[in-house]
Amino acid sequence: MSLFSQPVGVSHYLVVGAVMFVCGVVAMATKRNALGVLMGIELVLNGANLNFIAFGSQILHREPARTIGLDGQLIALFVIVLAAAEAAIALAITLNFYNNQGTVDVDRADDLSG
């Protein structure tokens, strides 16, 4: 019973989301370029978004819905907004960092280390 032999369902979405999430985490953990790290963050967020949407699927709600059935999508929208805001702030930080240090290498950002 492999995923490949089944019609596209919730599990497939979850797999894609997990792959995206892991890709994002790996990017964050390995990239020294701040912009790369930001991209990794976007991947993580969107991987999570996919999960929300997958779990918000009508297939999982057999019983009569007490909501309008858009919970997952709604939270995904929130996350998108959140990601936009976060990207704006992170880019601003990066820009300033660049202005100060002349680089966007996050390993150089250790002024506050204990």
Binding site: M28, A29, V37, V106, D107, A109, D110, G114
Partner: protein, 827 residues
């Protein structure tokens, strides 16, 4: 009549309150009133002058409305004296505000006629009714206005109010006090003039480094005190109840304290002020007992009936036998508690047993005790000579118009309360005072001290007169004495002002330099000795002293056991004459003894000697009768004579107080007394003239012959020493013991406990520092170490953090999956 009842109290109240207004004004504005506060003098003098004019208006109003009734002894001869000038009743439109009571008090003093033998029987209550019937036929009517201005406290049993009681005595006292105070105020403007500086040098006060004290002048303050003094004295006189009297009594005391201690930097002045105040407290203690006896039994403080409550005097006057029902009931308290109903008959039987008489005696003695303190009578006279430390105008004020007059006035006011036994005590106290002070005055050399002892002696005369039944004689002497003693004091002040010394041996021959002072002082001396042409005319003292001696003679005839009172009075007259002329001769006559003093002497400014002349005029003529009328101070005062309650002793049944008019009507007594008084005064004068005037006799030889006598007199009968030995030393001894106890034992105890507390707190400190702080520090150091350890984790490398997050998350998931499995297995 309606007008008198409403206007007279207002007039006198205004006269009373004006000095208070002046006092308050000077307190508030004092030093800002002109340069060095000289305007304060004008404020105070203006206030008292206005008071005098108001009092004079009151006197005029009284005379217009009531006139002066024919003297009592004439009246009693003419039976059924109609007393046309004295109305019996009237309706008053302003009854609520000033209800005047026109008492028709029956005088009980005409109980039986001249034979003393009858008195003993008449005193028994069974016959009192008849005796009163007799008395009623002779009744004279005393006009009095009493009322309440403001009730301070009102309950069923007690009413304390600011009220007034105005009779002839009040009106006379008002005029006398304000007149003399006015003169003294004017005089003080001159006398205290040297206080009008910023830098006053007190030559009699040396600082520890030997220099004189420098201080700011206190001109305004002096007048401030004078105003308060006048206010207090007038309040005392106008007071309508004993509670109010007591308040003003104490106010007078505090004023004298302030003024005696006016030069407070001088040690002698401050101790003299303390002495005056403390000695007076002793007397006041007795007075409070008297007040309690009166209030506790009679249930009222008021003199006269106010608002339907019977006052003290009417309760006594209306009681048959003179013991008020309240006192009878109070004395029979046990029987009433046991169930005996106090009906009329029962009260009568109690009264027959003289129940309540002791209470009356206690009340009388208590009141007199206060007067002993205020009027400087024998055991408590010691403060008065020391009071000379005040400025001389103050001495004049204290000795003439205010402080000491208050005591005599109060004895006169409370005359109906005194039983014959109390009167005898008063007479003896007066006689002892009179004799002792006169002898001390003979030896004194300080001019003011001579006068001070003379005052004490004259006060003794007044008390003696009151004690032997001479109500009028005593008060009459109070008035005449007020004038000539204030005159004498102001004269001596003038001398001191000129010579800067009090010592008479340094003076002499001053009459050429100070003619006005010498002349007016001579008038004062003549007045106090009672000079006059017998049976024709004399100085004021002649009349008053004569009547006193006549009354003592009259008393000694009725009570032969007490004849020595008469002799003391006669000898006292000789002594008075001797020491007064000794003073005058030593000061003004002869040759100057100290050239330095004589050169500096000068006549005082006009503002000082004009009051002297005014007072001299009164000292001369205050005893005179206006020719062709019966208008004299004597006859006027007679109209205010209170009803006398008891004339026959109960405890000593042989004691009987003769009626005062007997000493006037009985020609034998009158002639004798006049001649004796004149003779003794003359002998005193001759002796003084021989010793100090012509120097035919040498005073030094006498002094050397009686050294012990001299020491005895110079040391004032060793009474101060005695008090020092009996009261002051033991108190100081005891105080030192107590102080030692305090220092050794109590301080030891306190120090010990303090040491304990210190030890405990030291322990506490250790505990706090090592245990509590230790715990806190351990926690803090752990936290610190933990933080240090965590510090290594925070590398600042972003990717490492991400790794941590990932590893942490994975670890959490792994953990959660394990737990999930277990939980699922368990569930």
């Amino acid at each position: 009549m309606d007008q008198t009842a409403s206007i007279l109290p207002l007039l006198l109240a205004a006269a009373w309150l004006l000095p208070l207004a002046s006092f308050i004004l000077i307190v508030l504005a004092g030093p800002k009133m002109g340069r060095h506060g000289y305007l304060a003098a004008y404020v105070a003098t203006g206030a008292i002058l206005t008071s005098f004019l108001l009092s004079l208006a009151g006197l005029g109003m009284w005379l217009v409305n009531h006139g002066i009734p024919v003297a009592a002894h004439h009246a009693e001869r003419a039976e059924h004296h109609a007393a046309a000038a004295s109305p019996t009743s009237a309706d008053f439109p302003q009854a609520g505000i000033s209800k005047a009571r026109l008492a028709s008090l029956r005088t009980l003093r005409a109980r039986s006629d001249d034979e003393p033998g009858d008195h003993a029987e008449a005193s028994h209550a069974g016959e009192n009714a008849e005796a009163n019937q007799d008395a009623a036929e002779h009744h004279t009517e005393k006009v009095e206005y009493a009322g309440s201005w403001y009730p301070l406290y009102r309950s069923k049993t007690l009413l304390i109010d600011i009220g007034y009681y105005i009779d002839v005595l009040t009106v006379c006292m008002f005029c006398m006090v304000t007149l003399i105070s006015t003169c003294i105020h004017f005089y003080s403007i001159g006398y205290m003039g040297d206080e009008l500086v910023d830098d006053y040098v007190d030559h009699e006060c040396r600082l520890p480094d030997g220099s004189h004290l420098h201080r700011a002048g206190r001109f305004a303050r002096f007048f401030q005190y004078l105003s308060l003094f006048c206010f207090s004295m007038l309040g005392l006189v106008i007071a309508g109840n004993v509670a109010m009297v007591f308040v003003f009594w104490e106010l007078v005391g505090i004023c004298s304290y302030l003024l005696i201690g006016f030069y407070r930097e001088r040690h002698s002045a401050s101790t003299a002020a303390n002495k005056a105040f403390i000695v007076n407290r002793v007397g006041d203690f007795g007075m409070i007992i008297g007040l309690m006896a009166l209030w506790g039994s009679l249930g009222t403080f008021a003199f006269a009936d106010v608002g339907g409550r019977p006052g003290i005097f009417s309760q006594i006057a209306e009681a048959p036998g003179g013991i008020p029902t309240g006192m009878v009931k109070a004395a029979a308290y046990d029987e009433i508690q046991a169930g005996v109903a106090p009906t009329g008959g029962q009260i009568q039987s109690w009264r027959d047993r003289h129940l309540g008489y002791g209470l009356l005696v206690v009340a009388g003695l208590g009141i007199f005790c206060g007067c002993v303190g205020k009027s400087a009578q024998f055991p408590l006279h010691v403060w008065l000579p020391d009071a000379m430390e005040g400025p001389t105008p103050v001495s004049a004020l204290i000795h003439a118009a205010t402080m000491v007059a208050a005591g005599v006035y109060l004895v006169g006011r409370f005359y109906p309360v005194f039983t014959p036994e109390v009167l005898l005590v008063i007479a003896y106290i007066g006689a002892i005072t009179l004799f002792m002070a006169a002898t001390i005055a003979v030896a004194a050399t300080d001019i003011k001290r001579v006068l001070a002892y003379s005052t004490v002696s004259q006060l003794g005369y007044m008390m003696l007169a009151m004690g032997v039944g001479g109500w009028l004689a005593g008060l009459f002497h109070l008035f005449t004495h007020a004038f000539f003693k204030s005159l004498l004091f102001l004269c001596s002040g003038s001398v001191i002002h000129a010579c800067h010394t009090n010592e008479m041996p340094l003076m002499g021959g001053l009459r050429k330099k100070m003619p006005w002072t010498a002349g007016t002082m001579l008038v004062g001396c003549l007045a106090i000795t009672g000079a006059g042409i017998p049976f024709v005319v004399g100085f004021s003292g002649y009349y008053s002293k004569d009547s006193i001696i006549a009354q003592t003679l009259s008393f000694s005839r009725v009570n032969p056991a007490h004849t020595h009172l008469y002799w003391i009075a006669a000898i006292g007259a000789a002594l008075t004459s001797f020491y007064m002329f000794r003073l005058w001769f030593m000061t003004f006559a002869g040759q100057p003894r100290d050239a330095h003093v004589y050169e500096h002497a000068h006549e005082s400014p006009k503002i000082m000697y004009v009051p002297l002349v005014i007072l001299a005029f009164f000292a001369l003529g205050v005893g005179w009768r206006i020719p062709g009328t019966n208008w004299s101070l004597n006859n006027f005062l007679e109209a205010g004579r209170p009803a006398v309650g008891i004339v026959q002793g109960v405890l000593w049944s042989s004691l009987s107080v003769p009626r005062e008019h007997l000493s006037h009507t009985d020609l034998g007594i009158h002639t004798n007394a006049t001649l004796v008084a004149f003779g003794s005064a003359l002998s005193g004068f001759i002796l003084a003239a021989l010793f100090y005037g012509t120097q035919k006799l040498n005073a030094d030889e006498v002094r050397q012959q009686f050294p012990r006598m001299r020491a005895f007199l110079l040391n004032r009968w060793y009474i101060d020493h005695l008090y020092d030995l009996v009261f002051v030393r033991p108190v100081i001894f005891f105080a030192q013991r107590v102080a030692n106890f305090d220092r050794r034992r109590i301080d030891w105890l306190i120090d010990g406990s303090a040491r304990w507390v210190r030890g405990i707190s030291r322990l506490d400190d250790l505990l706090d520092r090592y245990v509590v702080d230790g715990l806190v520090n351990i926690v803090a150091s752990w936290t610190y170490g933990f933080g240090l350890a965590l510090r290594r984790v925070q590398t600042g490398r972003l990717r490492q953090y991400v790794m941590f997050i990932v590893v942490g998350t994975v670890a959490l998931f792994v953990l959660a999956s394990f737990l999930w499995n277990y939980a699922a297995a368990g569930g």
